[in-house]
């Protein structure tokens, strides 16, 4: 949805941390994205290559690890993975009141530098 701005944020965060650690070049940026963030990875890869062009991250790999949506049932306490953003029902007991364990996170996990 907002891939260009978000990709710029990823790049800014990566460069800031690399500079802070005295690195001259970034070779890889590892991002974790929950399935609920619904980002379009193709656009993000395209923008990343373009935006990184004249920074120390030029030519770096953007690796996006998708984090599954996991819910915990408030009735039986069991955790389950669900496929998509939808109404969540506990597959174990059919209870509707569930809480989200993961799936909404979106952060730069680490960077590989030289």
């Amino acid at each position: 949805m907002h891939e260009l701005g978000l990709t710029q944020s990823i790049l800014d965060i990566a460069v800031e941390h690399a500079v802070k650690n005295g690195a001259a070049k970034i070779s890889q940026v590892n991002v974790k994205a929950g399935e609920m963030t619904a980002i379009v990875e193709d656009s993000m890869q395209f923008f990343f290559e373009y935006l990184a062009g004249d920074t120390i991250a030029a030519g770096a790999q953007l690796v996006i690890e998708h984090v599954p949506i996991v819910i915990r049932c408030l009735q039986c306490g069991k955790e389950s993975e669900v496929e998509q953003l939808d109404i969540y029902t506990c597959p174990h007991c059919g209870e509707h009141a569930v809480e989200l364990v993961s799936g909404r996170e979106f952060f730069v996990d680490s960077i590989e530098v030289e």
Binding site: M1, A23, I87, S110, E112
Partner: protein
């Protein structure tokens, strides 16, 4: 060499939102992030709310639209302190826009700030503004299936206003089906059916709001 970063990609917006929240807290202002699709009745809802509060609470409004001053002019006509944000194409408000617009608002004596987000059921849900509460309006003509189609926004609000209930007889909208669907997404949401046009059901909303305003003022 690997460097651990662990920094949220939404961090820039989240940090500014925290700053806005601090300003609201310091000034004793209850801030509402009001979201809905275009035409659900956000502006009518704001006007009726401010009218009913007048005399004992003071409201200010931030109007978020892609273009035009139509809404701000309508609200200002009623003597309400208002600032218009034109996002110039952006489909939602972000925390920095709120921070900037606060400079243009006279918040003296204000205890309620209503931020009317851009009419959109998708993007505004992902961007916190520093609000004290999120209120979503769904209107009867839009249909009772909207929570299924836009789950994020319906799962993140404290209050869901069902507006235009004076049109219920003209539609297949089922309040029961709506409540059933939305509670599966958001078990604790307050569903308040009302009509800004006839005023029916508005007392329930004002009751919720007055409680929150007392809390914000520490009464």
């Amino acid at each position: 060499m690997e460097i651990k970063v662990l920094e949220s990609i939404f961090a820039a917006n989240e940090n500014l939102a925290d700053k806005n929240a601090e300003v609201f807290k310091e000034k004793g202002i209850f801030a509402i992030n009001l979201m809905s699709s275009p035409g659900a009745g956000k502006t009518s809802f704001i006007l009726e709310t401010a009218r009913r509060l007048s005399g004992h609470h003071k409201a200010a409004v931030i109007e978020g639209d892609i273009a035009s001053k139509v809404d701000a002019e309508k609200v200002r006509e009623h003597g309400i302190e208002t600032v218009q944000i034109n996002t110039g194409g952006a489909c939602h408000l972000e925390a920095n826009m709120i921070q900037k617009s606060l400079e243009y608002l006279d918040l003296t004596g204000v205890d309620l700030l209503i931020i009317e987000n851009v009419g959109n059921l998708v993007c505004p849900a992902d961007f916190v503004l520093g609000e004290s509460a999120r209120v979503v309006i769904l209107s009867v003509p839009e249909g009772d299936d909207k929570p299924l189609k836009y789950p994020t926004i319906f799962s993140s609000c404290e209050v869901l206003i069902i507006n235009k209930i004076d049109m219920l007889a003209l539609s297949d909208f089922s309040m029961e089906r709506l409540e059933d669907t939305v509670r599966k997404l958001n078990p604790n949401v307050n569903v308040i059916p009302l009509s800004c046009r006839t005023g029916e059901g508005f007392d329930a909303w004002m009751g919720w709001l007055e409680d929150k305003l007392s809390g914000a003022l520490g009464l």
